[in-house]
Symmetry: C2
Subunit: 431 residues, 2 copies
């Protein structure tokens, strides 16, 4: 019987003070779930020896694999290695390679201070994970039937290190394959999806199926366990086909993180390019797309026209028209989409204007947004009311999702504007 | 003796699968730290009755206040209320107001399904927190010397609910005031800051001081406990003055979340406006600024010029110059800054071009970025090498920090271009 249950202990008072978010636990969990290792607990504890010691004891009782993040760095409150080594009766010894590595780092003219050298003290006999992304090494050891892996805290170090060293170290442990696919959905909420499949889900054991809400969309996760990946895939095939059939064109993609990730290859395949003209979203739609490597093949660029002046100067909108119709209007959204398309020579122009809040524009309530898409010979429009209690961040993100959804639906020949008809959602209402 | 130690239990298999990040625990922790309530643990557990029950038992042993997030919603695996009520021997009863609220929600033509009604079952005698941001109510009760607060999981509901109901409910409990200030620093790393103040920090008990790394900058947190807020402030005053003196112009602000938040009021005060021309950052600099309410008073807008075509068409850069110097060059950065300034009539123009990765442009290594700032009569430039192992997200964020740092330093009459001299940092090197 190989170990399966994993606990991730993240060490850092800054996490408990809310200064930073525990993205390490999320990213490690995601990587582990893909190789069939179950994470049962995340624990966050401060830079306090007694409490960390107690958490490690609890983890030893309930988990087979203990992964720590944080507390390996040079600052004076870092103590993870000391506590973990002690909990398993191992002493810390200076690692020569790591000491040498620190000297190399110094000679690269970076700023290494005396306290950096405590980082080179590691549990005796451990497997050392040299840190290519920072200075604090990680490590792993097996003792008392448990596997312990320690990773540095900063996400820019922890994530590539766990991918490079942690996953291969653990991969040999899993004697069954767990494979998972996510069916990504935009246009109906998690609650409606749950309602649609509740009876089926309750009756399923392997594969299983579960809906999850994301900030502005949702997904249905289908998971199968089998002796081989291929067998797991075969088990899921009819389930996924059935789910896609029932959800129809609300499904925007499989195993993608966001709608723009689904749109990128669709545009690429057709050799089409788009450009954006953003008012209330202030660059977020462009930013999201350019988060994706390879964006430049289909995204030309765009304008952030936060003020009326900028709408006129950068995109040539008629100031009199803006004055007459209002900056937040269907007409301005259309003009933004059309003008940015024309100006850049893009195939598709996106225009967005609205009230992201927290203040209103004196005319519309917060969450009023017009999203327009101009293509050869036609300009489409969605008028959205997301509800006045929505946060600025929600309104902006949802506006972007609608823009990308319009592109997606147009590319696949679906109805672009009135997608909800009688199926409105708990999240927003189309007027 | 009033209760102080708090544990936040977040319930949801999606957290353990890494589908979502536990931002609720961070946001609640941040709110609690400001009213002097110490969070000692965050725990994440799946939608599993046995494991949740065990976690609640552990929390009863080590915490005075137990706050749960998640597991109050309508999907079939939601069970937080059942387990918590059971752990304290309380039964669940239907809450009439909440049932009525759900009917009102339906009549607002949103999509409420049958399973939404389980949400109206609440622990007998609890204080009900009506959810204005969604459908699942929160609640609180006191039993066995413990305080239990339950909040829904989606951050857009959890955060405003905890602010509206949770904080006032707990505020009466704290018999001492904890006040905290963060000194925000850009230009030297956490490790160097720690080294600078290590002896002093070790000798301090109240106030205390601790450095924390953020993704692309760092902070020094100064905290004092006292019987009144005023007393705590007085205790911190000389400490903060001393720290600011030693850190000098690396300090960009106090109690702000990011450098752009410090820059906004500085621009506003002087009545100056800026515009952006972004290549490799793809709209992120504009997006970050427009995340701030009130951005429109000082941010005109800008252009996202991801391709050479867009650089020419949207901002009038000379294609021959781009060809000769290369899209990633000091000259293009300068032209972007100057042209967007001129085109929009802004006081300050920002231009950014570089290689965000993961692929190189065939000429420069990943992390090469040119950031330029054009003002009346002068154009400034920083040439950055962040190191080729940096992530795309890091390179883009750091580029934005440099842009805002240039604005800040220019506004306050400091050296804009060569800020590091001999003080380079572990994070990046200025050529």
């Amino acid at each position: 019987m190989r170990p399966y249950n994993t606990e991730i202990i993240s060490v850092g008072t800054e996490l408990l003070l809310g200064h930073i978010t525990n993205t390490d636990a999320r990213d490690i969990s995601e990587m582990l779930s893909k190789i069939g290792i179950n994470v049962k607990y995340h624990t966050v504890v401060g830079d306090n020896p007694e409490r960390l010691k107690a958490c490690v004891q609890t983890a030893k009782e309930r988990a087979d694999i203990i992964i720590t993040t944080g507390g390996l760095g040079p600052t004076c409150d870092d103590l993870t290695k000391v506590i973990l080594a002690d909990a398993f009766g191992i002493r810390l010894v200076e690692n020569e390679d790591e000491v040498k590595g620190l000297y190399d780092y110094i000679s690269n003219s970076r700023n290494v201070t005396q306290n950096n050298f405590s980082q080179a003290m590691l549990p005796e006999g451990c497997t050392v994970f040299h840190n290519l992304w920072g200075t604090a090494p990680g490590c792993a050891f097996e003792r008392e039937g448990k596997i312990v892996i320690m990773m540095p805290g900063p996400p820019v170090e922890c994530v590539p290190m766990f991918r490079t060293y942690g996953i291969p170290y653990l991969q040999a442990l899993s004697d069954e394959q767990i494979v998972s696919h996510s069916v990504r959905i935009f246009g109906i909420g998690e609650s409606a999806v749950d309602d649609m499949f509740a009876d089926e889900m309750n009756a399923m054991t392997n594969p299983t199926m579960a809906p999850y809400a994301k900030e502005c969309d949702c997904l249905l996760q289908v998971t199968a366990k089998a002796h081989s990946e291929q067998e797991a895939e075969q088990m899921m095939e009819p389930v996924i086909a059935h789910v896609r059939e029932r959800l129809g064109d609300f499904v925007y993609g499989m195993d993608v993180e966001c709608i723009e990730e689904a749109v990128l290859p669709m545009l690429k395949e057709r050799g089409l390019r788009f450009a954006t003209a953003e008012s209330c979203t202030g660059g977020e739609i462009a930013k999201r797309f350019t988060d994706l490597p390879g964006a430049s093949s289909v995204f030309l660029g765009g304008a952030v026209v936060y003020t009326n002046e900028a709408k006129a100067k950068l995109l040539g909108l008629d100031p009199a028209m803006i004055e007459e119709k209002g900056a937040v209007s269907a007409e301005v959204a259309r003009a933004l989409a059309e003008n940015v398309r024309q100006l850049t020579g893009a195939d598709i122009g996106i225009g967005v204007t609205g009230v992201a809040g927290p203040d209103t524009d004196g005319v519309h309530e917060v969450g009023t947004v017009f999203v327009s898409m101009a293509v050869e010979g036609k300009t489409y429009l969605r008028s959205l009311q997301m509800g006045s209690l929505r946060t600025r961040s929600y309104v902006r993100r949802m506006s972007g999702n609608h823009a990308y959804d319009m592109i997606r639906r147009w590319l696949t020949g679906l109805e672009v504007e009135q997608i909800y008809k009688e199926k409105d959602t708990p999240y927003y209402v189309l007027k």
